[in-house]
């Protein structure tokens, strides 16, 4: 099993550009999450999904969108990138409530 995979690993965007961060898991987990981690800080939840077709906002959703058309994939879309979105983005998945989350390797995004 590959676990949780993310692409790309690194990306530099100009202000106002858009991009999609890809996330795939092969563990058949229903729950998936997107977090951002700013330097020296803990993780903050952007969006989450409890199954295909079901998504909801987390703590910091502004400037992002998600979709979940399959169990495996949970892409995160950034529209009109801003410098405040410079961060490391982690995707995670879990079996359900009370289970550990498995994290992907992260995408380091810089917006200049």
């Amino acid at each position: 099993n590959a676990g949780v995979t993310q692409t790309p690993k690194f990306r530099i965007l100009k202000i106002g550009q858009s991009m999609t961060l890809q996330c795939t898991q092969d563990m058949n987990h229903n729950y998936m999450y997107w977090y951002r981690q700013d330097p020296g800080m803990g993780l903050k939840l952007i969006y989450y999904s409890v199954g295909a077709g079901i998504t909801d906002k987390g703590e910091v959703p502004n400037g992002y969108n998600v979709s979940r058309s399959t169990t495996e994939d949970f892409p995160l879309r950034l529209e009109l990138a801003a410098p405040s979105q410079t961060s490391v983005y982690f995707c995670a998945s879990s079996y359900g409530d009370g289970y550990e989350q498995y994290f992907g390797p992260g995408t380091r995004l810089t917006v200049t």
Partner: protein, 114 residues
């Protein structure tokens, strides 16, 4: 709003010594998680604590949960250099289905030196 606070935020330890990292949270919860992150890497799950009084141990690390005090501890015994990393606690809101939405602490940067 759920707040999670860890202390200390920075911990420099000598090899062979013992120490404890504390994780306090602000509202009722009975689900707490500990993760480890190496520099530039992803997060790795260490412990899942799901009830008051839960204690789990793995190697030189032991975690416990006191839901009445809203406190979890991560105890390090006889530290070795390989334990150098950032440790995060994360809390799940209590009461039914929370969908695993976690609130993370700021992290404790642990450095173990000879």
């Amino acid at each position: 709003e759920l707040k999670v606070e860890q202390n200390p935020l920075f911990l420099s330890m000598q090899e062979g010594k013992n120490y404890t990292i504390y994780c306090n949270y602000s509202t009722t919860s009975d689900r707490l998680y500990w993760y480890r992150q190496d520099p530039g890497k992803s997060l790795e799950s260490l412990f899942v604590l799901l009830s008051n009084g839960a204690v789990k141990q793995e190697g030189r690390l032991m975690a416990s949960l006191d839901t009445k005090a809203r406190l979890s501890t991560l105890h390090i015994t006889a530290a070795v250099h390989d334990l150098s990393a950032t440790y995060f606690c994360a809390v799940d809101l209590a009461g039914g289905t929370s969908y695993g939405k976690l609130t993370f602490g700021q992290g404790t940067i642990l450095t173990v030196h000879p």
